[in-house]
C-alpha cells in the first residue's frame, strides 16, 4: 500500500475529531539547524468544504482498533472500511514535506488501539521522536493520550507534543457505558488528571530552571459527541464548566454526531447532524471563556435547552431586564460584555475611547458596536432612540426570524406574543419574555 492510500484511509478515519487548533504555544523561532515554529494564536492554513479550519495534518497512526465503540467509524466490528498503519518514518517525512510547503502548521496525531494501548503509544512516540529529534521540528504537535497506557509512555508523549488531549467521548457515564463498552469514565479521566498533574509539576520546574523540558506547553483539550445520547444542553454545559475548572483544560470541543453506524442504540443513519445545537454550545462555551458567564446563568433546570432562534447571550439579556439599560460611559468592562452587540474588542475600545471623550451612539458605531442589537440595552450621552420596532427581529438574523415566524409548534406561541409586549414602551424592560 503506498503513502497516498494510507493518507486517504487514515485522514478519512481521523476527520470526525473536531479539534484542529494550533494555538497555545508562545511563538518561538526554529532551533538552529531545525525547521518550524509556533504562533500563540495558531494559524489556519486552509478551510475544508465543510467550513472547518485545516491547521494540522490530522491523521491516525492506524485505524486498526481492538475496541468496539458503537458511535465510532473505526470500531472493530465495522467491516466496511479499509485498514492501514503509518510507519513512523513515513508519517514524519510526510509532515516535514507538507510543512515546508506551508500546507500545515504541524501534526495532529491520534490513533486506533492496535494490539494494546502501550504498543499504540510506542508507535506514536516513535513518530514524534523522529520529527523532534531527527528533523529538529519546532512546529505544532497535538497528540492523543491513549487511555489505559502506561504513565511513563504518556509522559514521553507530553514532553514531545505541544498539546495533548483525551476525548471524554460521551457527556455522561451512562451513555459511555452503553455506547463505548470497552471504555470507562475512570479510564478517560485518569490520563486527564495525569496530564494536569504533569503540566502543574512542569510549571514549577520551569520557574526554577528555565530550560527544563516542557510538558504539553499548549495544555490539554477534550471533545465530546453531541446528539448520540439523551443529555440536555444544560447538563453538557455544566460538565464543560467543571472540566475547565477541574482539569484546567484549554478547550472543550463539541462534535455533532454524524451517523456512522446502524445501531438500535444510536440515532438512525438518516438523521441530520445537530449542527445548530453544536453551534449554540460553542457560543455558550465562548461566553464562559471570554464573557465571564457561568454555566448556570446561561441555562438552568427551568430551561435546560438552548433557544433555537436566539443566541445564548441575547437570550440571557431578554431574560434579565433588571440588568439593563447599561450606561456606556460608566459601565464596567464586565457589564459591557453582557450587552448584545458588544463584543470583547468593542468593549475594550469603549473603555479606551471614553477616557478622552463622552461617547454617543454615533461614536459607539465607529468603535464597532452593532447598534442594531445594542441600542435597546444601552444609554449614552444622547437619549436612547428606541422606536416601536421589533426587538426580537433585531436580535435575530433575517433567516432566523423567518424560521421563527414559520414555526408551527405550540411552544412558539409565547414567542408570537412578544412583539406585542415589547411594543409597550413604558414597560420596555419589565415586560420582556420570561421563559424562552
Amino acid at each position: 500500500m503506498d503513502i497516498s492510500d494510507k493518507l486517504q484511509i487514515l485522514a478519512d478515519s481521523a476527520k470526525y475529531d473536531a479539534a484542529c487548533t494550533s494555538s497555545g504555544t508562545a511563538g518561538a523561532a526554529a532551533a538552529i539547524g531545525g525547521i518550524g515554529s509556533t504562533c500563540l494564536a495558531g494559524v489556519c492554513h486552509s478551510f475544508a468544504a465543510d467550513g472547518r479550519c485545516i491547521s494540522l495534518l490530522k491523521v491516525l497512526q492506524t485505524n486498526i482498533c481492538i475496541y468496539d465503540c458503537k458511535y465510532c467509524l473505526n470500531r472493530k466490528s465495522n467491516t466496511k472500511i479499509k485498514r492501514a498503519v503509518f510507519k513512523p518514518e513515513e508519517l514524519a517525512d510526510l509532515t516535514i514535506q507538507f510543512y515546508k510547503r506551508n500546507y500545515i502548521e504541524g501534526l495532529f496525531l491520534s490513533s486506533g488501539i492496535i494490539k494494546n494501548p502501550d504498543y499504540t503509544c510506542e508507535l506514536i512516540i516513535r513518530t514524534l521522536v523522529i520529527l523532534r529529534k531527527t528533523y529538529n521540528f519546532g512546529g505544532y504537535i497535538h497528540a492523543k493520550a491513549i487511555p489505559g497506557a502506561d504513565g511513563s509512555l504518556l509522559r514521553q508523549i507530553g514532553l514531545l507534543a505541544d498539546r495533548m488531549s483525551v476525548n471524554i467521548e460521551m457527556p455522561s457515564q451512562n451513555s459511555l457505558a452503553l455506547l463505548a463498552p470497552d471504555k470507562s469514565k475512570d479510564a478517560i479521566l485518569k490520563p486527564m488528571e495525569f496530564i494536569k498533574e504533569n503540566i502543574n509539576e512542569n510549571m514549577r520546574d520551569l520557574t526554577v530552571y528555565k530550560k527544563a523540558p516542557k510538558f504539553a506547553p499548549a495544555g490539554q483539550s477534550t471533545q465530546m459527541i453531541i446528539g448520540a445520547s439523551p443529555e440536555t444542553d444544560s447538563h453538557i454545559l455544566k460538565l464543560t464548566e467543571s472540566l475547565y475548572k477541574k482539569y484546567k483544560l484549554k478547550r472543550v470541543f463539541f462534535s455533532a454526531y454524524i451517523p456512522v453506524s446502524d445501531n438500535s442504540m444510536l440515532p438512525s443513519p438518516d438523521t441530520q447532524p445537530p449542527l445548530l445545537r453544536e453551534h449554540r454550545l460553542y457560543q455558550a462555551d465562548w461566553l464562559m471563556r471570554f464573557y465571564k458567564f457561568r454555566a448556570d446563568e446561561i441555562l438552568d433546570d427551568k430551561s435546560p435547552n438552548f433557544n433555537p432562534f436566539l443566541d445564548p447571550k441575547c437570550n440571557w439579556a431578554l431574560n434579565h431586564p433588571e440588568f439593563f439599560p447599561v450606561e456606556a460611559n460608566k459601565a464596567s468592562y464586565a457589564q459591557l460584555l453582557r450587552v448584545p452587540g458588544i463584543g470583547v474588542i468593542s468593549a475594550q475600545r469603549i473603555i479606551i475611547a471614553r477616557k478622552h471623550n463622552t461617547l454617543d451612539f454615533n461614536s459607539l458605531k465607529k468603535l464597532g458596536v452593532t447598534l442594531k442589537r445594542a441600542k435597546y440595552f444601552i444609554v449614552c450621552k444622547d437619549a436612547p432612540t428606541i422606536k416601536n420596532d421589533n426587538i426580537l427581529q433585531s436580535l435575530m438574523s433575517a433567516k432566523e426570524f423567518n424560521m421563527y415566524k414559520d414555526a408551527k409548534f405550540p411552544k412558539q406561541l409565547d414567542f408570537f406574543e412578544m412583539p406585542k409586549l415589547l411594543r409597550d414602551k413604558e414597560h420596555l424592560w419589565l415586560n420582556s419574555p420570561k421563559a424562552i
Partner: protein, 251 residues
C-alpha cells in the same frame, strides 16, 4: 498654530515612508494642506498643479524624530503601518493624523471615536488580518533547494510576512512574489530583502513536487465531512481572492 490654508496643489513623493515625511515637512513649512498626496506610481497627468517632492533624508529625520517625542511610539508604528495598507488617500489621512497628534499628544492613539484615528486603526487592522491569512494561505513549491511562492494581496504585506517565514524556516531559501504590487521578497542564510520586480515566471513542477501537491489536494478533499458541507462558511473564512494561488484549488 497658525492657520493652514487649503491648497489646490498635489504633492508627489517617492512612495517611501521618508518621502512621505518630507511631504509633511513641506506642508508645515508652506502652511498649506495639499489637495492630495500621491506616490509617483499613482500620479497620472492631472489638471491640478503638481509639486514633486524629492526625499531629503535630513528633513525626513527631523519629522521622524518628532513623532515618538510628541505622540508616542504607538502612533509612530500606526503611521508606518498605514503606509503599507491599501487605504485610499492614506497619505492625506496620515497627514491629518499627525496634525491631530501634535496637538493631542500620546493620547492620540486612544481617540478611537475620531474619524481619522479610527480610519487609520481600521486600515491597519485590516492589513494585519490579511497578513494573518497569508501566513497560513501561502503555498510554497519546492524547486531544487528553493521554495517559491506567489501571492496577490491587497496591502503591502511582504514586510510583515517575511520575518514570519524567516524565523520558521531559517535553513531554507525562499522567495515570495507579490503580483499585485510587483514586489519580491527573497530570503537566504538569515537575511531577507524586499525589492521591486517586473514579473517572474514560475518554473514547472517536477515529479516529486507534483506528487506532494496531489497528496495535499487529496487530503484536503478527504478531511471534509461530506454531510456537513458548508460552502458559505468556507467562503467567509477563505474568500475567493486568496484561492488563486493555493495548491488545493488548482485544477
Amino acid at each position: 498654530m497658525a492657520e493652514f490654508s487649503k491648497s489646490n496643489i498635489i504633492y508627489i513623493y517617492d512612495g517611501a515612508f521618508e518621502g512621505f515625511l518630507c511631504c509633511v515637512f513641506e506642508s508645515f513649512t508652506r502652511k498649506e494642506i495639499p489637495s492630495d498626496i500621491l506616490s509617483q506610481k499613482d500620479a497620472h497627468t492631472n489638471l491640478l498643479e503638481q509639486f514633486n517632492i524629492t526625499t531629503d533624508i535630513k528633513k525626513a529625520n527631523r519629522v521622524k524624530k518628532s513623532i515618538p517625542q510628541k505622540m508616542g511610539f504607538e502612533a509612530f508604528a500606526l503611521l508606518e503601518n498605514t503606509l503599507l495598507t491599501c487605504l485610499k488617500h492614506k497619505e492625506m489621512f496620515m497627514l491629518d493624523f499627525m496634525r491631530l497628534g501634535y496637538k493631542a499628544g500620546s493620547k492620540i492613539t486612544n481617540m478611537l471615536d475620531n474619524n481619522t484615528v479610527m480610519t487609520l486603526t481600521k486600515a491597519v487592522k485590516q492589513m494585519a488580518n490579511e497578513v494573518n491569512k497569508f501566513t497560513g494561505f501561502i503555498r510554497f513549491s519546492v524547486h531544487g533547494d528553493l521554495l517559491i511562492s506567489k501571492i496577490k494581496p491587497k496591502n503591502y504585506v511582504l514586510r510583515h510576512i517575511a520575518p514570519h517565514f524567516a524565523a520558521r524556516m531559517p535553513n531554507e531559501k525562499f522567495v515570495i512574489f507579490d503580483e499585485t504590487h510587483n514586489m519580491i521578497c527573497a530570503y537566504a542564510k538569515g537575511r531577507y530583502a524586499i525589492s521591486e520586480i517586473s514579473g517572474i515566471e514560475l518554473p514547472k513542477a517536477d515529479n516529486e513536487e507534483q506528487r506532494y501537491r496531489n497528496l495535499w489536494k487529496m487530503f484536503h478533499d478527504t478531511i471534509a465531512i461530506k454531510t456537513r458541507k458548508h460552502p458559505n462558511c468556507q467562503m467567509t473564512l477563505m474568500p475567493k481572492r486568496y484561492r488563486s494561488n493555493m495548491t488545493e484549488f488548482q485544477p
